[in-house]
């Protein structure tokens, strides 16, 4: 296990290596690789931890989260990535009835994150 989360986030630890990903491209790819059960399991724990993660994130200036809190924030972004799939698409790992996602290129404020 390469990514260690801060104390208090032990429940999220099992998801850290898979979901603490820095870019949308990686987060979406991980979501597509996952099973519906994987997505639901991560979503349930992620949702529970979300308020604490955002609270810690806001102790840093915008875009300057560092160290273990950076991994935590990436987990929150992965939660945002999978949330529509749990909340709207019945845990389908892909967007149902959609254009092939792999053909879409995303660029955010000049970066891929």
């Amino acid at each position: 296990m390469s990514i260690t989360l801060p104390g208090g986030f032990e429940d999220l630890q099992p998801f850290a290596d898979r979901w603490a990903l820095a870019t949308e491209y990686e987060r979406a790819a991980e979501r597509r690789r996952s099973s519906p059960a994987d997505i639901k399991a991560f979503y349930d724990v992620g949702l529970r931890c979300l308020p604490q993660i955002l609270k810690r994130a806001d102790q840093y200036p915008l875009g300057q989260i560092s160290g273990v809190d950076s991994s935590l924030f990436h987990l929150a972004l992965s939660l945002a990535e999978v949330a529509p799939h749990v909340e709207f698409y019945d845990c389908d790992p892909r967007v149902p009835f959609a254009f092939r996602e792999e053909r879409l290129v995303g660029v955010h404020c000049g970066t891929a994150d």
Partner: protein, 411 residues
């Protein structure tokens, strides 16, 4: 049946006709060539935002496949934006090497650009200011004769627009006409954070435009991402020459969900979730200040859809590549976040919107493919698809005028 759907826009605009539209313009190579000649090479086209090149020396290169060129947009030391074909006057190499993406960005403190091939250097006015071993060129070679080839450029509300014609038929403000008056004052520049998605599609560019040009598809296509938007209607139809606008209203937003509500409580950035902060719209946008107004879609003819909402705006643009290929670019603009949690909330909204766009783009290649069968010769439009009918008329008028010109030339 949705009781709020407005009756008969078509009866208000009888000049647009009510008959089915022909399939031919979506498929035919000759029609496509005429569109390029009579519209894309003649009209003003939006190619960027001023915020993309904020400082002197900042530049952007935008590919325009339909014209087999790419355009350099560069801000000079005087703040003015110049536009040039990205073609070196030495032996025609691209002055700025493109990164492979549709849009390439760069910056140079001296506000010059240098061709990587042999080091020819141009300033932001396009003047050739540096030629290595210049003395080895023959006496007939003159720097002054070898500036970058300029392209007409102007801006409107922060949109950078170019015109490829040698002599544009009219200035940008005249071209925009009433559309300019309609949208002037919308605070585009206060929401500069842009989230871009693009894809190359195997379909005619108008099929893409059409798919985004009506809300009839919302209850079916967006049943996944926008399940709350089924009770919708459209209104505030307006035409400004070849440009057009229509507003989208919804009785309900998406149902509250745990993550959706968490994001929305931090930063209202989704078109499918209610936004409560007051927002300054121009007088003519949502003129009745209807509480169910969601956003308005304006089309800057020929290929640019500008959607303005409260606290967010987004655009779609379809760039023709051939009669059966196009580039789609979707851009979602938000106010810069102040905190990391706002950044997170915005990313949730953008992700949901991305998914909705994946739903939108799902039909386009299928539509083109199916029309290619030749099984149907006409398509049928309902009232809420009046923008498509207006687009067909505007495009067809140009193509027919070109036909008439050609006839006249042969007479």
């Amino acid at each position: 049946m949705n009781a709020r759907l407005k009756p008969s826009f078509l009866s208000r605009y009888p000049e647009l006709g009510t008959e089915p539209l022909p399939v031919y313009p979506y498929l035919a190579s000759d029609y496509y060539q005429k569109e390029i000649a009579s519209i894309f090479r003649q009209d003003w086209l939006c190619v960027g935002r001023i915020e993309e090149i904020p400082k002197p020396g900042d530049y952007k290169v935008k590919r325009l496949d339909f014209a087999h060129t790419s355009v350099i947009l560069i801000r000079g030391k005087d703040g003015a934006i110049g536009a040039f074909h990205n073609v070196c006057r030495h032996r025609g190499n691209k002055v700025v090497t493109e990164t492979g993406r549709e849009e390439t960005y760069g910056s140079n403190k001296a506000a010059v650009i240098t061709c990587r091939f042999h080091g020819w250097t141009y300033d932001a006015k396009g003047a050739l200011v540096g030629v290595p071993q210049e003395e080895r060129f023959p006496p007939c070679f003159k720097r002054a004769d070898n500036s970058l080839v300029p392209i007409h450029v102007d801006t409107w509300s922060g949109f950078i627009c170019i015109n490829l014609a040698e002599k544009p038929r009219m200035q940008l403000s005249e071209f925009l006409g009433g559309l300019k008056d309609h949208l002037d004052g919308y605070p585009f520049g206060s929401m500069p954070d842009v989230h871009t998605y693009y894809a190359h599609l195997n379909c005619n560019w108008k099929i893409g435009m059409d798919a985004f040009g009506e809300a009839y598809h919302v209850p079916t296509i967006h049943a996944g991402s926008f399940p709350g938007l089924t009770d919708y209607w459209q209104d505030d139809v307006a035409f400004y020459g070849d440009h057009r606008s229509i507003a989208f209203f919804a009785a309900d937003m998406n149902p509250p969900t745990p993550v959706g509500s968490a994001a929305n409580s931090i930063f209202g950035a989704s078109i499918a979730l209610a936004r409560t902060e007051p927002f300054p719209l121009p007088k003519t946008v949502n003129p009745t200040r209807h509480k169910n107004w969601g956003f308005e879609q304006s089309t800057m003819f020929p290929n640019f859809l500008i959607h303005v909402g409260e606290g967010l705006w987004f655009t779609h643009q379809f760039w023709p590549i051939s009669e059966n290929k196009c580039l789609w670019e979707g851009k979602y603009f938000l106010k810069a976040p102040k905190t990391n949690s706002e950044h997170w909330a915005q990313r949730y909204a953008v992700t949901l919107q991305r998914n909705a766009w994946l739903e939108d783009t799902a039909t386009m290649e299928d539509t083109h493919d199916a029309l290619m069968s030749g099984a149907v010769k006409q398509i049928n439009l309902q009232d809420d698809e009046i923008m498509l009918r207006h687009a067909f008329n505007a495009i067809n008028r140009r193509v027919r005028a070109l036909d008439e010109e050609a006839k006249g030339a042969h007479a």
